[in-house]
């Protein structure tokens, strides 16, 4: 632990908002970034190890649980786990049936994956903000690293890479099915021939292009923004713990209240991401003009 650095509020917040980034630094070579500036200098060819680790871990948890149930699934009386899984599957299927009018066997599993995976990733927000990063820092200290420079973000959805990754995949699927269902001409026509008819083509293209591109951006930023803000509140509340008994007590109450409220937010955000994906894909499948 270096005594030259005192822990400031700014430093604390900064520490919590920095990913564990692995990449090639122009000066230091291959390694983990020691601060956010170094991470930025690594450019595009760096990877956020914490985001990858937790998102894959949670995805595997989801796949493992659902696969286990699917393996022993019975049409008879369902057990506890199967009941729970069926409840979620039924919920997702109902939403797909309600919003998606086309026929595509991929949409429902896609929606299920999005809902459960995003929910699990958001759920990491409810773990006290310092718990896992602190334990990880201690572990790395044992291995010889300076815990001040060991970063860890446990909520993958507070990393725009994760939310944009999903949103872009959804966007590509929208493009793919738009062209597949309507043909290249039909899709281009949809982009250029409305709402003003063929003489307003440039205006149409601008309007429709913006509306098309705004889909993945809004999808990704909505989830990222909500989770990032929620995480930030938790971090600010955590700062109060160092401000004496009264502030610490207040912080305890606040953290509980915010966590309870956050349960609603994380579920809602997972649900919104799923529903919007279904709706966008439904629009891609429909020939409405």
């Amino acid at each position: 632990m270096s005594s030259s650095e005192t822990l400031t509020s700014q430093g604390y917040i900064q520490h919590h908002l920095t990913n564990l980034t692995l990449g090639v630094h122009p000066e230091h070579g291959l390694g983990f970034a020691h601060n956010s500036a170094e991470a930025a200098e690594m450019g595009f060819w760096a990877i956020n190890v914490d985001t990858m680790f937790f998102s894959i871990l949670l995805g595997v948890v989801f796949i493992w649980l659902f696969r286990k149930v699917a393996d022993n699934v019975t049409a008879g009386v369902p057990g506890g786990a199967q009941n729970f899984v069926e409840w979620i599957v039924d919920f997702v299927e109902e939403n797909v049936r309600g919003s998606f009018s086309g026929k595509n066997p991929m949409v429902a599993p896609l929606a299920l994956t999005i809902f459960v995976w995003v929910f699990l990733m958001n759920l990491m927000d409810l773990i006290p903000v310092d718990l896992i990063p602190h334990l990880f820092g201690q572990l790395m200290a044992v291995l010889g690293a300076d815990p001040h420079h060991v970063y860890l973000k446990v909520v993958p959805t507070t990393d725009p890479n994760a939310t944009f990754g999903m949103a872009l995949m959804v966007f590509f699927m929208v493009l793919y099915y738009s062209i597949k269902m309507k043909g290249v001409g039909g899709f281009l026509g949809e982009l250029t021939l409305q709402p003003f008819g063929k003489w307003g083509m440039p205006a149409n293209l601008i309007l429709e292009g913006i509306s098309l591109l705004s889909k993945p951006v809004s999808l990704a930023l909505r989830l990222f923004g909500n989770m990032y803000a929620g995480e930030m509140i938790f971090i600010l509340i955590a700062l109060l713990y160092s401000g004496g008994v009264v502030l610490a007590g207040t912080a305890g109450v606040l953290q509980f209240v915010w966590a309870v409220f956050h349960i609603l937010i994380i579920t809602l955000q997972a649900f919104i991401f799923m529903v919007l994906t279904i709706v966008y894909l439904d629009m891609a499948h429909q020939e409405h003009h």
Binding site: T21, G43, A46, N48, R67, M106, P109, F164
Partner: protein
């Protein structure tokens, strides 16, 4: 918070999870749900059928009971008629038998009376013969006058 390679890695991860879910998770669970739905529908239909069959069976049972009651009443009626017949028959038999007995007794009486009369007649003839013998002494030969005596006796 930089956009970097993580973006592509996340896209691939996402695609892999969706693909796995689509291939190995979603179909079995949804199939099981559909199967259970079919089973429940089948069960409900079977229950409905059973209900109808029960109503039908009840109706049939009622019919059978009604028929059985009618048959029983019939049998009882026949038995009563038969009983009356038997009693009547027995009465007439008894009457005939009684008449027969009375007739037989009368015949017996007649016969006895005749026999007694005959005996008496013989005895009277013998007595008359003896009396006549005594009266006529040796003048009448019993053997030669026998037919006269018998005629006489017969007229008694």
């Amino acid at each position: 918070m930089n956009i970097n390679l993580t973006l592509f890695a996340q896209m691939i991860t996402f695609a892999v999870f969706v693909g796995f879910c689509m291939k190995y998770v979603w179909p079995p669970i949804v199939n099981a749900l559909a199967e259970r739905k079919a089973k429940i529908a089948e069960g409900l239909a079977a229950a409905e059928r059973g209900h109808q069959e029960k109503a039908l069976g009840e109706q049939r049972a009622l019919e059978v009971m009604k028929e059985a009651k009618a048959t029983a009443a019939d049998i009882v009626g026949q038995a009563q008629k038969r009983a009356t017949d038997i009693v009547e028959e027995a009465k007439s038999d008894a009457r005939v038998e009684g008449e027969r007995i009375v007739a037989a007794a009368q015949a017996e009486i007649e016969r006895e009376a005749n026999r007694a009369r005959e005996e008496l007649r013989e005895k009277v003839a013998t007595l008359a013969m003896a009396a006549a013998e005594k009266i006529l002494q040796k003048e009448i030969n019993v053997d030669s006058h026998r037919s006269i005596v018998d005629d006489f006796a017969k007229q008694l």
